[in-house]
Amino acid sequence: MCLAAATAGPRAQTADGTAPGVGTISGRVKLTARVRSPLPSNVYPSRTIGKHAAPAIPEIRNVVVYLKDPGFRGALRTTKSELRQEDETFIPHVLAITRGSTVEFPNGDPFFHNVFSLSSTATFNLGRYPRGETRGQRFNKPGLVKVFCDIHSHMSASILVLDHPYFAIPATDGAFELPNIPAGRYTLVGWHERVGERTLSVRVDAGQVSTVNLTVPVEDQP
């Protein structure tokens, strides 16, 4: 599939920067509270040790909107992203990248961190390293990679590796835009790590903007 995309080559672009025969999906993601079956918590209040002050990342920023199997044929532009470790938290919590991209894990905390993953998409362990140091990892397989720190059990992050460029992480107000999509019918996915995929059928017309509203039933936790 990748080879096929490569041979197809990029389509000609119009003067205003938009390729002919492509449209845009624009929309808004809405998080709804979902009824969760009760899960146990400790009856006896535990003595919390060094509760870290987690930077408030809005839950909407943990959603990835993408097209499901769009049949992308073309050169996939790789990027170099950063997943910082600050205040015992991976920032951002969810990262979406194209296949072949590299992610750097700089340590911004005044103590050691570690980065490892058990995911089948990419199993790796970057070892432990101090503040100021960074280590990178290139992701060559599409799929979900769950990242952990084996020093801090509460730290986790998700990296969604996609083999097409049609994805976005919504703005804090939920708005997103997927430009340059060839006209056709697609399945739009709203993904959240605790919900999985929520899909929506969408039609893209050339030169048009298809507007959609996607609902993802995630409890918007503080």
Partner: protein, 564 residues
């Protein structure tokens, strides 16, 4: 029982009564002590259970909390969390079963590592849908993978309850399994409520324990029968079960108290009042027995002493009365013993009685003696020549008897015997008695009958019996030629010899119709002449010795001595 049975001794009776009283008293005290000990034990057992319950509840809560915290701390394993979270992300509906299996094995390994560091029957890890992902620990096999875990009595997301799995009831303490503030599963710490748990609980509570869930005794340190009895007793009680009370199991009274209530499971502590009170009662009875034994001995000794205080004076009194009755001697009356007023009064009364009886007897004897003396004097008076003869013979005989050192009793017998010696002459006709001339042999035979006649007269008066030998034998001679029996020497009592000598002396020294009175010296010579043959030699000697003291210058016997 025969009517003639002898009554028991006072001492025996007193001891028996004392013993019976003490026994009844002790039995009463035993019963009271047993009851009061039982009551006290019941209270103390209840108090102990109550105190134990507070301590236990605190300890148990702390233990469970610490266990939960321990597990929570252990659950903070990045690898376990990573495994669970990655598994959750990758085990979608279309996941490869082989890959899924691999993931679950990874999770199980990680959980084993955690479980190895904690002493627990089972640690169960579930996903967010309460399905078992993995379990570890001694009883892990009871928690198979993919089974839904249902905790009875879970309130909201706080779980501290019980779960029944294949007949085994577990006490469950849950700990959250979060990743970065997001719940990714749950960890349950399951403790089997089995006999081992009940034993631990019993050691902690210091009592028997029973754990009841859904009205059933899940486990207990009681015997199976007792456990069933307890179960049915609780079933009969109002819903929720009583917090405390008294119950009879196996015929033994038990105090029980609810220790803690963990949702559907209730923990009870039980203590047998009976077995606790048995030990306490035994101790109390042992001490009491010691005191009781001492008290009994003391009471018996005291009653023995009291009884002796009564019986001893009575015994003395009766002994002296017996002696007195035998000797007719009122001189030696028993003195009051001073042991008690009543006994002294009894003694005095007896003494007064004996004195008055003795006085009456003396009076009677005196009257008799007086009458007989009067008779003897009257007899003497029949013959003018023999007037005063009997009294003189009496005086002389007494003097001789004294000289021969006879005993006072013998002297008294001689005094009256001599006075009466010729009483038999009452049957001798005046013609013979007063005949101034010599007697014919036939007349002399009549005279010879007077000692026997006198004896017969005296035989009719019992108290004159001692004097009979004197009257009967005062004409016998040492050489056997006397009358009426012709006895010899020692066959004749000394009293009869003495009266014989005195009679002969007085006869010779007083005048008769047919002769004049002889001089005392001549009479003594005559007596000396026949001493050893007709007269008792020592008696004659004694008469010679005493004569100067009893006769006047004119040779007459002084009669004042009669009333000395």
């Amino acid at each position: 029982m025969s009517g003639g049975r002898r009554p028991p001794r006072l001492l025996v009776k007193t001891l028996a009564v004392t013993f019976a009283t003490v026994a009844v008293l002790l039995i009463g005290v035993f019963v009271l002590v047993t009851a009061s000990v039982r009551d006290q034990v019941r209270q103390s057992v209840s108090t102990n259970l109550e105190a134990g319950q507070r301590v236990f509840a605190a300890i148990e809560a702390r233990r469970q909390r610490e266990l939960g915290e321990q597990v929570a701390a252990l659950a903070e394993s990045p690898r376990l969390k990573a495994a669970v979270d990655t598994y959750a992300a990758e085990s979608g509906a279309n996941a490869d079963p082989a890959v899924r299996e691999q993931w679950l094995t990874t999770i199980a390994r990680q959980l084993e590592e955690v479980a190895a560091r904690i002493d627990s029957d089972a640690i169960v890890l579930t996903d967010v849908r309460h399905r078992t992902l993995a379990s570890a620990g001694r009883l892990a096999s009871l928690w198979p993978r993919d089974r839904e875990v249902v905790i009875a009595g879970a309130e909201g997301d706080r779980v501290d309850g019980v779960a029944r799995v294949d007949g085994t009831v577990f006490r469950i303490v849950s700990v959250p399994f979060d990743l970065d503030g997001v719940r990714i599963g749950a960890l349950y710490l399951a403790t089997a409520l089995d006999r081992r748990y009940a034993d631990d609980l019993a050691a902690l509570a210091g009592a028997q324990t029973a754990i009841v869930s859904d009205g059933q005794v899940v486990t207990s340190t009681l015997s199976p029968e007792s456990a069933r009895a307890f179960e049915s007793a609780l079933a009969a009680a109002p819903a929720g079960g009583p917090a405390a009370g008294i119950i009879t199991l196996d015929d033994e009274s038990h105090a029980f108290r609810r220790l803690v209530n963990v949702n559907k499971a209730t923990f009870y502590a039980l203590t047998s009042i009976d077995s606790s009170s048995r030990a306490a009662t035994r101790t109390a009875i042992q001490r009491l027995s010691l005191i009781a034994g001492g008290a009994t001995l003391l009471a018996l000794a005291a009653s023995f002493w009291l009884a002796r205080m009564i019986t001893e004076p009575i015994g003395q009194l009766s002994t002296s009365l017996k002696r007195m009755a035998a000797s007719r001697d009122a001189a030696n009356l028993p003195a009051p013993s001073g042991s008690s007023l009543e006994i002294d009064e009894l003694t005095d009364t007896f003494n007064a009685l004996i004195t008055s009886v003795t006085a009456a007897e003396d009076q009677t004897q005196g009257a008799y003696t007086g009458a007989i003396r009067a008779l003897a004097m009257a007899l003497d008076a029949r013959d003018p020549y023999t007037a005063g003869h009997s009294e003189r013979v009496s005086v002389l005989s007494v003097a001789i008897g004294r000289s021969l050192r006879l005993r006072d009793e013998e002297i008294e017998v001689i005094r009256l015997g001599a006075l009466l010696h010729d009483i038999g002459k009452i049957g001798v006709p005046d013609a013979v008695l007063l005949k101034p001339t010599a007697l014919t042999p036939a007349e002399f035979d009549i005279i010879k009958q007077h000692p026997g006649a006198g004896a017969r007269i005296l035989q009719s008066v019992p108290f004159l019996a001692p004097h009979i030998p004197i009257v009967e034998l005062h004409h016998e001679r040492p050489d056997g030629r006397g009358y009426p029996h012709g006895l010899r020497g020692d066959e004749i009592p000394i009293a009869a010899h003495i009266v014989h000598v005195a009679d002969a002396y007085d006869a010779m020294t007083t005048a008769r119709a047919y002769r004049s009175a002889r001089h005392p010296t001549a009479a003594l010579q005559e007596l000396w002449h026949f001493a050893g043959t007709a007269f008792h030699a020592e008696a004659v000697g004694a008469l010679a010795t005493v004569l100067p003291g009893v006769i006047s210058d004119t040779g007459e016997v002084v009669l004042e001595h009669m009333h000395a």
